[in-house]
Symmetry: C2
Subunit: 711 residues, 2 copies
């Protein structure tokens, strides 16, 4: 190749003159391509009545509108090059723009950093929102032991709060040590090894999915509670009687919310940050007021539940196991604490400092809320029912008045926003895993809006399935929850302990103590939760984790094998040319097949016309036509007594390979492009079928040479 | 091309030695292809653990097992070449063989001729079977005028029988005049012109579809009647209450039967002839006995209906219109008479004589049965109800005993077999229309078993939809029926009149009288039926016919335009070579992309490597790699700020075309073939997406160069 004189080329890589040499030995074959055979318009342009001349002029005038030249052979695509073509695509893009927003350039990414204020909403909403359901989760366990046992919840809540503060402090250390993202996966993998890292990764992925399902279902429950409180209970029951049995109001609301969340996140982080901050701070403000007013009224003795709490039948004694189980249920409040340490790089500079501050603020708020709600609930003697605990509490404080509805709305809001933590975290973690070859690489591609579209879509889809399968029941989902959170905490904190032991940085001894306590407490809680919740659903998570880890390892194995096979080894041979046998299967000799033959003749010295037919006479005719119009080509005729076409062609290629095992066979077929797409149905789709048939043949390529049919 | 010395080639068209020249200017590029880069096994073979060497040996030893050589460059495919490959295809073929039978060679067709005995079953079952529902169709109309009016049915039946005999005699003439198939389409088109021919064709296609729907629904009704007669009415109602509202027992039975019929016909004519003959003759025998015994008992005064007929309320007076309407309904008995004249070539020799005899036997049987059933029914005072008339009649004759059940079974059988007339006729007519370019050409291809598979499938599909839409109600479907039959009769007989006028063959005057009476009666009846049934559904057929004719004309126009565009015009230029710009889009430079580059280098002097990327550093790396491993290639780098890949490539091709409008662009891409199909999901499917994007570009071809990944 290179020893030939290179024709002069311009920057687009196109030679200055595209030659069209002619075959000299046939009087019927001439050099100049006829206008007919060089259509240069897209079918749509022809349909719009554009004449060939118009397009050349238009294109030449606008010149490099698609590309801006930045150097020899180096261009940057302009927005024009990303312009949609055709009605279908234009419509699709328009809808996508409304739902997802305009495409963002990669260079716009740097502006997408979060202030502490917004970061608390984006990364903290999950943790803070758990104050809306964690108390309830404990009370549901305790209520089997009668009304008196509900008071115990205050002690389990205190235990959780202590645990929470220790975990928050130990994560604070992680944030400073891993400013580029110190998720449990990173920390465990680096300090404990591949397998603990993958276990942490799997736990977190499961938890992100559960976060979405639990938060959205709880958010929907807040809407339903407000409706029941307003006396619409009967109407809801009637509506539900109309629905198929696998759908209820909660499930429908939840699926709708998940859909909206998915769209919001496909739009990208920055804008969702703004929207979600409003909701999160409304909830924080609302719950603070409720607790302050509530506790004030409690002390002044003016706080009365809207409805007197029911008397509970004692069905089980108050055992240690029951108390531990209530503690396990309350531990759900801790979920989401690791979100900030995962998201450090999304903070404004200085990232670690801002992240650490946000973490402490978040933990403080969460602890105060959880304790406050539990304190009020136990002193008012509230009992979990169709209406949520905090709805009962808010009604006691405000009555069924406007402030109550605003607060209820804010509760719904933050629970939905909480799902956003997962929508930020899951795709990010999946992309990190994909970059490390543990997840399919699609998870590492950013969409038009710089969001990891595949991860966002996968999360939305799996969470929707969970909501459907668990019928929108928060309680059954929460049982699956805490295991993953605590497993991640344990691994991450243990990893930090190893880190300090190895690095011996300043203050490493203090740090070891903090992370050591964190690790020990996490492990103890993990054991308690696993034992007390195993039969209630925790076993599902314990089964899932090894499956997911195996999936990670399978992917990693595949990608590394591929990488190894594709790597160019210094000094090893590789072919510079692939000489090929070109086969042109024809049914008749016409302009379309002559075009395919011209293509075949151009790309190889060894081209064969192959006629697979059922009719002797027809074959004879083709023989004569080939002799007349393509006398330089070798013709092979195969009679196919079963009228099959694809199978004999496969057999022909096999026969070629049986003689020349290393031959590369290129099959060149004419393909009709009809002016109207539905006309395509009037033509036998043998070209497409043929391509399918050879799709897994390692040394066969199929080329369809387009032939534009006029209208 | 041809002025170069041709390398010596063997008969398969493969050159004796496939050379693999090397690029001389690069030390990293060597001539001998590495074993790695010339995989010669299919993926399945590799999975089965076959070593490359084994296959070469096996293939060489078996030699031309796929093809038998019959001359230079001329082969016949052996059964071995039709052998399925891979588990999926083998399973599919095995199932197909059980359901459809082994593939037949084209040469086996001659054995598929029918004897008169079998032909009566195959072509006559439709006509004969109408005796099972035609009487009922009349009675349903008359019953609004009370029990006394039912006696009128005998006179309308007589009118239909007279009409039938005239039509039979006029078709007898057609059979002798058109021994190669004298369907209404042929006769009308030849004598009256294209449009009448197409109208006749459209009418017949509609009627074939209705025949299937009506016969199968009536057959299912016979099963249901037998069940009701045996006292299973309540159980049927209970079962139906469990079904979705658009399904009832009749619909489900009908759909099942249509499915079986479709399969039987895909197997081919001969075998269905054998099965169907048994059923048809059982029915003929059974109905004959029923009528003889019934009339004997009637005269001896021992015939009593199983249940006394209900007293009908008189809701309408007995007007001429009502009687005409009853006649129109009874005219449904004439459907299927034209089947024999369509199918003359399927008879054993001498075809016309055998066909004519069969036609007369068939018409005699049908007339006798129709009159007999109507006679008995009116003398017994039977009234149409949930149970069919002939079921009531058979119960009166036999009681609810074994002979009754056998007769009922035979009725079901012949009604289902009647649908076979349509399954023989519809695909045959569609194939004739396809050969004349009026139907999509797919309808003219014969399947493995020599049957016109597309037509059979289309008929089964449309009939099923009809059954679903009309909820398995025979009466509503029958309203649509007679118009098409009579339209075809009218056109065919008018065509014959013109034929005799033109040809003036022996006895042309007598013939004109016969066909003239046939034509006049058909036209009169057509007018009566159209008027009396217009509002009841006949309008649907009247609307459909022009739509179908337009469809025929559209197809014809398309195919003739294509033919005209593709025809090689003596002396007109056509290109002998297509010089092309080859573009190799790469994401990274590895073995797979080097293989694509080698392919590109081989097929064109003008090949460009195109990197569309988002990362400057990565682009720089690729630049260096290209300089090292493919220094003879031109590299173009396009930055894609929106991370898009397909769109900038489209824009690049547009830019090339804006400079060189006639350039043919070939895009060469490496494509991974993974050892396990599911591993394909781990790779970005950009190759397939790219091919989609360029699928309607008239001067762009996309070549995927396969690269086999090892397990």
């Amino acid at each position: 190749m290179a020893d030939k004189k290179q024709p002069k080329q311009n920057d687009l890589g196109v030679p200055e003159a595209v030659e069209t040499p002619s075959v000299s030995d046939s009087s019927h074959v001439s050099g100049a391509p006829s206008k007919k055979l060089n259509p240069d318009l897209t079918v749509n342009e022809i349909k719009r009545g554009v004449r060939p001349g118009d397009v050349y002029v238009r294109m030449r005038q606008t010149g490099n509108r698609f590309f801006r030249r930045v150097g020899p052979g180096h261009f940057i695509a302009t927005p024009e090059s990303n312009r949609p073509e055709g009605t279908v695509e234009r419509t699709y893009r328009a809808i996508k723009k409304i739902l997802i927003g305009r495409p963002l350039e990669t260079a716009e990414e740097i502006h997408q950093r979060l202030s502490k204020f917004k970061a608390l909403a984006v990364f903290g909403s999950d943790a803070i929102s758990s104050s809306a359901y964690a108390t309830e989760a404990s009370l549901v366990i305790l209520m089997v032991a009668g009304n008196a046992a509900l008071g115990i919840s205050l002690f389990t809540a205190l235990a959780v709060a202590v645990m929470l503060s220790i975990i928050a402090f130990s994560y604070r250390q992680t944030v400073f040590t891993y400013p580029h993202g110190g998720g449990s996966y990173n920390v465990s993998r680096e300090n404990l090894g591949e397998m603990p890292g993958l276990v942490a990764g799997a736990s977190l992925l499961i938890d992100y999915i559960l976060t979405v399902a639990v938060s959205i279902v709880a958010g929907s429950a807040a809407v339903t509670s407000a409706l029941i409180a307003s006396g619409y209970g009967d109407q809801i029951q009637y509506l539900e009687s109309l629905l198929p049995h696998f759908l209820n109001i909660n499930v429908i609301l939840s699926l709708g919310f998940i859909g909206l969340m998915t769209l919001a996140n496909l739009r990208g982080l920055q804008e969702s940050g703004t929207i979600f901050a409003v909701v999160t701070y409304t909830f924080i403000f609302g719950l603070s007021i409720t607790l302050i007013v509530g506790i004030f009224k409690l002390f002044t003795g003016t706080l009365q539940p809207a409805a007197p709490p029911p008397i509970l039948a004692v069905t089980e004694p108050l055992t240690i196991l029951l108390i531990l189980r209530a503690f396990s249920a309350g531990a759900v409040a801790m979920s989401g604490v690791e979100a900030i340490s995962n998201g450090v790089p999304a903070f404004q500079k200085p990232e670690p400092k801002n992240a650490a501050t946000t973490l402490i603020v978040m933990a403080t708020l969460l602890g105060a809320f959880f304790l406050g709600v539990t304190y009020l609930a136990s002193h008012m003697g509230l009992v979990p029912s169709e209406e949520t605990i905090i709805s009962q509490m808010a009604r006691a404080v405000y009555g069924t008045s406007l402030p109550y509805y605003i607060f209820q709305l804010a509760t719904t809001g933050i629970l939905i926003v909480a799902a956003n933590t997962a929508f930020a975290g899951f795709p990010r973690l999946a992309s990190v895993l994909a970059r490390d070859d543990y997840m399919p690489h699609q998870f590492s591609f950013r969409g038009d809006r710089l969001a990891f579209s595949t991860g966002i879509g996968a999360l939305g889809g799996i969470a929707s399935i969970l909501v459907l399968v668990f019928q929108g029941e928060v309680d059954s989902l929460i049982h699956l929850y805490a295991i993953g959170v605590l497993l991640a905490f344990s691994l991450s904190n243990s990893g930090m302990v190893i880190h300090w032991l190895k690095s011996k940085e300043a203050n490493w001894k203090t740090s070891i103590i903090i992370n050591g306590i964190g690790a020990s407490l996490s492990i103890i809680t993990l054991i308690i939760v696993t034992i007390t919740k195993f039969a209630l659903g925790a076993w599902i998570v314990i089964v899932l984790i090894p499956i997911i880890v195996s999936f990670f390892l399978y992917n990693h194995h595949h990608y590394s094998r591929v990488r190894q096979q594709l790597r160019i080894i210094e000094g090893q041979d590789f072919p510079s040319r692939i000489e090929q046998l070109v086969v042109v299967p024809i049914d008749d000799l016409n302009y379309a097949s002559l075009r395919a033959i011209a293509f075949a003749r151009t790309i190889s010295r060894d081209a064969v016309i192959l006629h697979i037919g059922t009719n002797e006479e027809h074959a004879e005719k083709i023989k004569n036509k080939v002799q007349k119009y393509a006398p330089d080509m070798k013709l092979v005729i195969v009679d196919s007594p079963w009228r099959a076409f694809v199978r004999p062609l496969l057999a022909y290629v096999d026969a070629v390979h049986s003689q020349y095992p290393s031959a590369f066979v290129t099959i060149v077929l004419p393909e009709f492009i009809t002016a109207r797409w539905w006309d395509g149905f009037l033509h036998n789709r043998s070209a497409a079928r043929l391509r399918e048939a050879f799709v897994r043949h390692p040394n066969v390529a199929v080329v369809l040479v387009p032939y534009l049919l006029e209208n």
